[in-house]
């Protein structure tokens, strides 16, 4: 198993012009023992869609200089780009093929598409991926699970066609079992009640044990963003996608029993409990051969109580995730993807998180768990 960093982790430092792209690559190459993998979001790290030949030369100079390796490029698609129509699958695939060629030019081995990318689009781009000897992976992001059609259809396609060029990029957020403490703290700064945070943690535990007040199957089909906007619509209008109405009603009742005079925000906080994937480690182990690379997602590295100098993310089961991949014989990269910085971005710069320190702690944890 190899380690690296998605430079997504340094998005805040880049926004504030505290770290240049070269600084970020140097940090990975020089300050994270054993790590050499570089992952980027193309539209974050690069002049898009063409940074120019001089940049490409500089990019490879950096890789040499800092001993780093381009592993995976993360790409997106915005279906309203043309504004006069919604892009069809051919148009999305055309953009993807361009991004694949772009990634290849920069020496990346893999391209990651969003969890919402239709299989049809991936299949249309597959000949280009195969021609270039690369791999294409769909991100499996919470609240999606490894179980279910979105992953199964990819595995089935790969096995039926005997290709390893298409696969998955598990985001370790799927191994989260409660809302992160930094998100709950942000909600409380915005006026949510402590009882709502406690309710979210309690409901998460119940759902994890299979003792929750509703079934989870329909929820896991939605992205977290869509779930949040649908729940907000439900609170405002009483309407939602039919499949979500039952769970939403049960959720509201759960909150009413625990939170005194709940506000809309309090309901939203309790609803964070349904953003967890509840996926199985055994499925992870079985699917290891289809893993293109991994997003080592985390939101906050805090010291493990009673173990000075050792860190964990208290809301994500990393021990289980790493063990499953090890047992499955995983040889690829886990690239750190720090995301919790955004939960302090309502504050002043001085009160925001230190991305460099958080990623260093994460790598300390990865080294401990991989060696275990």
């Amino acid at each position: 198993m190899k380690t690296g960093v998605s430079l997504y982790s340094y998005q805040q430092s880049q926004f504030f012009k505290e770290l240049t792209l070269e600084d970020q690559i140097r940090e990975v190459g020089e300050n994270l023992p054993g790590a050499d993998g570089i992952e980027i979001v193309d539209e974050m790290s690069l002049r898009y869609p063409d940074p120019g030949d001089a940049f490409v030369a500089r990019w490879f100079d950096w890789m040499d200089k800092y001993g780093t390796v381009p592993v995976t490029m993360d790409v997106s698609f915005d279906v309203l780009q043309f504004r006069d129509h919604v892009m069809n699958h051919d148009e999305v695939a055309e953009r993807l093929r361009n991004d694949i060629r772009f990634a290849h030019k920069l020496g990346f081995s893999n391209v990651r598409v969003l969890s919402t990318c239709p299989l049809d689009v991936m299949v249309k781009a597959l000949p280009e991926i195969e021609r270039l000897g690369m791999r294409l992976g769909k991100e499996v992001h919470q609240p999606m699970a490894l179980e279910g059609q979105q992953v199964t259809e990819i595995i089935d396609y790969a096995e039926k066609h005997g290709t390893s060029a298409i696969g998955i990029v598990p985001d370790f957020g799927i191994f989260g079992f409660r809302p992160t403490e930094v998100l709950l703290a942000q909600y409380e700064r915005r006026g949510a009640k402590r009882e709502a945070s406690d309710g979210a943690v309690e409901l998460s535990a119940l759902l994890r044990e299979g003792k929750g007040p509703f079934d989870f199957a329909d929820i896991a089909k939605q992205t977290a963003g869509n779930l949040r906007s649908e729940f907000k619509r439900f609170l405002t209008t009483g309407e939602s996608i039919p499949a979500l109405k039952g769970p939403f009603e049960a959720l509201r009742a759960f909150a009413d029993e625990r939170v005194p005079q709940p506000s809309e925000l309090d309901y939203i906080v309790v609803a964070e409990a349904i953003m967890q994937s509840h996926t199985s480690f055994d499925t992870m182990r079985q699917l290891t051969g289809h893993v293109v690379s991994c997003h080592g997602k985390f939101n906050n590295m805090s010291q493990i109580p009673g173990r000075p100098g050792e860190y964990h993310d208290l809301a994500i089961d990393y021990e289980g995730a790493i063990k499953a991949l090890k047992d499955g014989g995983y040889q690829g990269y886990i690239n750190t993807e720090y995301e919790g910085q955004r939960y302090s971005q309502d504050r002043t710069r001085a009160e925001m998180m230190d991305e460099v320190e958080q990623v260093r702690r994460h790598h300390k944890m990865l080294r401990r768990l991989i060696a275990a």
């Binding site: 880049q14 926004f15 002049r47 915005d78 309203l80 780009q81 919402t116 504050r347 002043t348």
Partner: protein, 155 residues
């Protein structure tokens, strides 16, 4: 994201054209962790001292080009607004703003998304109204800034 930093704190100034104050301007950043195609950028909810300045009063200066209205920005389908870059939002307001502090309520509307959404067809017909939270990407609430007016900028 970056709630307090989407507008640069020292960027509020009046726009001076041929010796006449035609409006004011603010320097803005994209409320996301990535850039997007410029066409997806559909305008701002902007209220200064209780006065609402609609999309029709706004022009947008980015990528070294002169300010464009949001009808023109809509056609910039192959031009990208990169993550690192600041842009200038100009507001038509004859006479500009008076000196001193101003309360600015602000929300950016960018119809970028994670793939297909149920609202896609509706937003092809008309993008959501700025300020509703819809199509506002990673900062779906209105952010309030208190900004001091600086020396005017000459066009």
């Amino acid at each position: 994201m970056f709630d307090n930093y989407l507008v640069r704190a020292d960027s509020l100034r009046n726009d001076l054209v041929d010796g006449e104050l035609v409006g004011f301007q603010l320097a803005v950043r994209i409320a996301n962790y990535r850039g997007v195609y410029l066409s997806l950028h559909t305008g701002y909810f902007l209220e200064v001292d209780g006065v609402l300045y609609p999309r029709e009063a706004q022009t947008f200066e980015v990528n070294g080009k002169p300010p464009r209205d949001f009808g023109e920005i809509r056609t910039a389908v192959h031009e990208h607004w990169d993550y690192d870059d600041e842009a200038i939002l100009h507001i038509r307001a004859p006479g500009g703003l008076p000196a001193g502090e101003h309360v600015v309520r602000f929300q950016q509307c960018v119809i970028a998304a994670y793939g297909y959404l149920p609202t896609d067809e509706e937003w092809v017909k008309a993008p959501p109204s700025p300020g509703t939270g819809a199509g506002s990407d990673k900062t779906p609430h209105i952010v309030t800034y208190t900004l001091t007016l600086n020396e005017p900028a000459k066009a």
